[in-house]
Amino acid sequence: MSAAAREVILRRIRSAVEGAPEAGIERGYRGATGERGDVDLFAERVRDYKAIVHVVPRAEVAATLARITEGRVLTVPAGFPSDMYAASEGEPDGVISTCAVAVAETGTIVLDADPGQGTRAQTLIPDYHLCVVRDDQIVPNVPDAVARLDPARPLTWISGPSATSDIELNRVEGVHGPRTLEVVIVIG
């Protein structure tokens, strides 16, 4: 049945477009720059989504992570740099992860399931997500991010905490995903 449907649909398409003019693609927009993204712009754009943002030098990362996670037990995915944060005992109430790419212009973080980022479910189910972004992972714009990513991996683009505007268009942070997103940007 399905094979017949496939042939019918393809035949319908071919007869529908028969004789239609060739249509070339015009790409006059700004493409990928290959440059580094602006850290301050990224921090500002992430804050716009009501996420908590810290910008810290490399030497102070471990101390900062220890301070902001005090009283929390976080899931630490395999491959997360152990010199930055070590797992503690207890029932986790949040998750810590690294990321693959970050976009300055849109304040977006992209996870690609590489070591240190966990599975997609690990960064989704807890109510708190702490993400560590290295400054060399920040790119200026969306085309740069698309160029850097590998579509064969499962990708999750995150721009602020979970939100809905379904009730009278009032934005409410946090429905099903983590209601708090905290981002630590590592300089140097």
Binding site: I9, I13, Y29, L124, V146, P151, P161, T164, I167, G177
Partner: protein, 462 residues
Amino acid sequence: MSGVYIGMPAFPQNAAKAVQNSQLRFNLRKATHTIRGRRAAVVGELADWAELRQAGKTIKDHTLRHLDRYLIELEEKVTAAGGVVHWARDAAEANRIVARLVKDTGETEVVKVKSMATMEIGLNEALAEEGIEAFETDLAELIVQLGDDFPSHILVPAIHRNRAEIRELFLKKMAGAPKDLTDEPRALAEAARLYLRKRFLEAKVAISGANFMIAETGTLVVLESEGNGRMCLTLPKTLISVVGIEKLLPAWQDLEVFLQLLPRSSTGERMNPYTSMWTGATEGQEFHLVLLDNGRTSVLADKVGRQALRCIRCSACLNVCPVYERAGGHSYGSVYPGPIGAILTPQLRGMDTELDRSLPYASSLCGACYEVCPVAIDIPSVLVDLRAKARHPRTEKAGMAAAGWVFSRSKRLAKAQRFGGRMRRLVPKRLPGPLSGWTDTRDMPEIPAESFRDWWVREGNR
């Protein structure tokens, strides 16, 4: 398309009723104006918006021109990545495929991510007939589903409901809703979070749509805000995605255009909170892709109307439309309301019903929809073309033929004008019988005592 709207009166009757509902008009005005402002601000931030729009338009046109080739490429890539591809000619076939896939898992419950395509084919109703219960997980879709209601907006399907109504609905229909639930949006969202959490964790099968499919890589893309999409796409063992064949993009790189166009046009954000991309069977899941035609190939065959297939369902055209703002989404009698619905619905369903024939007229042709469309669909031109194709009432045809006869010779026109001028006091404000269709919604123009041409001749001769 699905039969849920069958028997609905034509747009003018629906709209006439809707505009009497002051609560609806208040809700809609507030909502559409809010999103409109947000969209304008974030679109204004991008200096190359016009170029992005042109790229979006040409990428879609190119894809549609070679849709057969790109669908085959997509099928190859999805299959190679462990997914299974199914083809559905129409709604009934798609529903049968999905029901069979769900039954094969032995499950009787599925969770759903908001999807226009599954709404279009009436999947939930079809599954219910097979003893499978589908749970909508998008907050607005949940509100619509609990209220046994119809969606009224592409992006915010419950835009017609205010917080007090939603609170009432949750208390009445949502199992386990807290007795002291307030009408604060935060409290209502929290109630939905708790209600759905268990469902997500226990669900074995999820059904989604997709915003984009990439032929080159076999990747599917879903944009969302709440995280219900991520829950459905990642947690259940089996994922079934039902996607219209026009959602295709040729190359991975093309996403760089659409990931800028869609969020800014749709929710008016630089980026929506969550976007998921996956290729084939991911992280141990089983993945099925159902490619849906359901009228799309006949839209593709229409030289003027085919541009409607560029649509990425952003809903920017709804938010700027003066007709939508006043008449509301339900008046259109389709899951696709507003200007895009007025050109898409009659093309997908055909113009056999009075409702579908009336849709191309649900517009003042002001052109605001064309202006904001991120893929430059010339909605007014398609509307005019569809008006010409729709069957017209006999009185209108006779009137137009008579007018054509009069206007085609200047002597006939002059005679008619002089006759009209003499009879001007006798012309009623409202025309009788079938002609009242004209005067019910328009003032009868004052007929001057003398035509311009006669005046010109008289003055010139002086």
